[in-house]
């Protein structure tokens, strides 16, 4: 069964059509990675699925048409973490994670004991409970991503939308965060849609890739079908080789053009 079904989604921003009838789907508990060059419309598609942009076409989550849902109902199904978060520096980790309970509270309601327990569980799960009293402004990049994921987990969503979750992390922390997301997906059955720039990471973690270019789906399918030298070279205007890592995942390596063919500086 498909957890997310995107059908013919078209988005215009400032009267410019940014997405052209995009369709894609991911099965329940799966991981879909959106890849593509800058400006291809990846973030726009993610924001449309999060319900943050007006669009044509339909988006279904667990058979529910998102167009029929309003704010809180949608937020109970979908958690969205933008690429650049606003993290109030003086807020504590505990307070921030508790904000994840917002969609489960009435307009004038306050978080109760159950909400605090769920926030605490999410914090435990991502191993951020031990610094619940620290200020967000004092966290390292890796800690910050874990805290954001804890907030998303406290939201108890069916779908997790992540815009470049490994953004400014070093290679070790990138791996840790991706493993955490994969654990979350396996143990909780959460469906993940993420934008990933590192194509090798996309092939290692996501079962399904959607390659966007100029607002259209250029290719979609398992990593081995999408990550081909031909396609990558053409869509990204890059020189790459595609090999396989020991586990068989496609590895995309950038190749520098031979010096002789470069114009002299």
């Amino acid at each position: 069964m498909n957890a997310i079904q995107v059908a013919g989604v078209t988005v215009e921003l400032d009267r410019v059509r940014v997405l052209h009838a995009v369709s894609c789907a991911v099965s329940s508990g799966g991981w879909l990675a959106l890849i593509g060059p800058n400006g291809a419309g990846k973030t726009t598609l993610l924001r449309a699925v999060a319900g943050l942009l007006p669009h044509r076409g339909t988006i279904r989550v667990d058979q529910t048409d998102l167009g029929a849902l309003r704010g809180r109902g949608r937020a109970r199904l979908i958690a969205y973490l933008p690429q650049v978060p606003v993290l109030p520096p003086d807020l504590t980790v505990g307070e921030y994670v508790l904000l994840g309970r917002t969609p489960h509270l009435g307009y004038l309601g306050a978080p109760g004991r159950g909400d605090r327990r769920k926030a605490a569980e999410a914090s435990e799960w991502l191993d951020v409970a031990r610094f619940a009293g620290r200020r967000l402004g004092s966290l390292s990049g890796g800690e910050r991503q874990r805290v954001r994921l804890a907030r998303a987990l406290a939201q108890e969503p069916r779908v997790l939308l992540l815009d470049e979750p490994t953004g400014d992390l070093d290679i070790g922390h990138q791996q840790q965060v991706l493993e955490l997301i994969d654990d979350l997906r396996r143990s909780r059955g959460v469906t993940v849609v993420s934008i990933l720039h590192d194509l090798t990471q996309a092939s290692q973690y996501a079962g399904h890739l959607v390659l966007l270019a100029a607002g259209r789906v250029e290719a979609a399918g398992p990593p081995a079908a999408v990550l081909t030298e031909d396609l990558i070279s053409r869509v990204y205007a890059a020189r790459v080789t595609v090999t396989a890592d020991p586990a068989g995942y496609p590895v995309v390596t950038a190749v520098r053009p031979p010096p002789s063919s470069q114009p002299s500086r």
Binding site: A50, G51, L52, G71, R72, G73, R74, A75, R76, I78, A79, Y80, L81, P82, P85, V86, L87, P88, P89, D90, L91, T92, E95, Y96, L99, G100, T102, P103, L105, L108, A110, P111, R135, G137, S138, Q155
Partner: protein, 344 residues
């Protein structure tokens, strides 16, 4: 890098400190003044008014009149004005995610100033009694103008703030023009602009009480929503809230709170910006704490400021706006400097 800026007080302690501060400020203000009231007799007379408590008071009838008809109404109005300005300032800071916003922003002070000036200049002998209503209406009209000019097409908070600055400058220009044409009213207008609680009566307190109660209740009920807004509009929406709606409701309630205060006190600056910042430093940035603690602390702060205003140069009075600015400006500089230290 400064990792932590001191330890936060637990909420229960923070409430305790704020309530103790307000009670202490009230007692000091009740005891200090031109008429020398016996402290113990005064406290017994006050305690006698608590329901179900009956104590023989040692105050004679003149002292009782000073206490219950002069000092207490003035203290009550100071509590209301200080609380209203502080809650409005904190609410605006939450709505705009900007720590430098004050309760007089968005054309509120400028509108009130213009309203009061028009009443004093053009209504002749009816002017003084019409000033509160004119200031109240002017303040609300100023905010409405700023909101309508700034909130176009779901634009961000910066546009709204800038529109507020523009509307404020415009209204101040009109006020200056009106005032410049009738210089005989300068003294009266300026003494109003600088703020004073010297004419405070029980009637004034009763008149603003309904607006004060409604506006404060609405702002306090939105503390959690302001916390959600602090993560930015995009994520606040993804969490299922409607930032634009929350902003409109809180701005309207803060405008009502500030207008009620201005109506009885004139323009009193710095309370709305200084008090919430002091509270944040003690209790942390969550608006669920900042708003109620600002209410209590702002009330106590203004009672003390008013006590200074009426005693320092006694028998004359300092304008209370001068006292709050004298205390407020150095505190403001301290905030700027220490905020800078944290960010670097």
């Amino acid at each position: 890098m400064i990792a932590t800026r001191g330890r936060r007080l637990r909420p229960a302690w923070a409430y305790g400190v704020a309530v103790a501060f307000l009670v202490a400020a009230t007692l000091v203000s009740a005891l200090v003044g031109a008429a020398d009231l016996n402290p113990i007799a005064t406290i017994t007379a006050l305690a006698d008014r608590i329901p179900f408590v009956h104590l023989p008071s040692g105050l004679d009838s003149l002292d009782r009149a000073v206490l219950f008809e002069i000092r207490l109404p003035r203290i009550t109005v100071a509590i209301m004005v200080g609380g209203l300005l502080s809650v409005a300032g904190a609410g605006y800071q939450g709505v705009f995610r900007n720590p430098l916003v004050d309760s007089g922003m968005l054309g509120a002070s400028a509108g009130a100033g213009l309203g009061a000036t028009l009443a004093i200049v053009y209504l002749g002998s009816a002017g003084p009694s019409a000033v509160p209503v004119a200031a109240f209406a002017g303040s609300l009209a100023g905010v409405a103008m700023a909101y309508l000019s700034g909130a176009v097409g779901g634009s961000g908070t910066t546009t709204l703030l800038l529109a507020g600055v523009a509307v404020g400058l415009f209204l101040t220009a009109v006020q200056t023009y009106v005032l410049q044409r009738s210089t005989q009213d300068l003294q009266q207008v300026y003494s109003w602009l600088l703020g004073s609680l010297s004419g405070a009566t029980w009637q004034q307190a009763g008149e603003i009480a309904p607006y004060a109660a409604v506006s404060v209740a609405i702002v306090l009920l939105h503390g959690r929503h302001l916390d959600v807004l602090s993560v930015g509009d995009e994520e606040a929406r993804a969490l299922g809230t409607h930032p634009g709606r929350v902003r409109l409701i809180v701005v309207a309630a803060c405008a009502l709170a500030a207008a009620s205060a201005v109506a009885v006190s004139g323009l009193i600056g710095f309370v709305g910006i200084v008090v919430p910042h002091v509270v944040r430093r003690v209790a942390g940035p969550s608006y669920r704490l900042v708003l109620p603690l600002s209410l209590l602390t702002g009330a106590g702060f203004l009672v003390l400021a008013d006590t200074l205003a009426r005693t320092v140069v006694s028998p004359a009075e300092l304008p209370i706006g001068v006292v709050t600015a004298l205390v407020g400006s150095p505190v403001f500089v301290w905030i700027l400097r220490s905020t800078n230290a944290v960010r670097t």
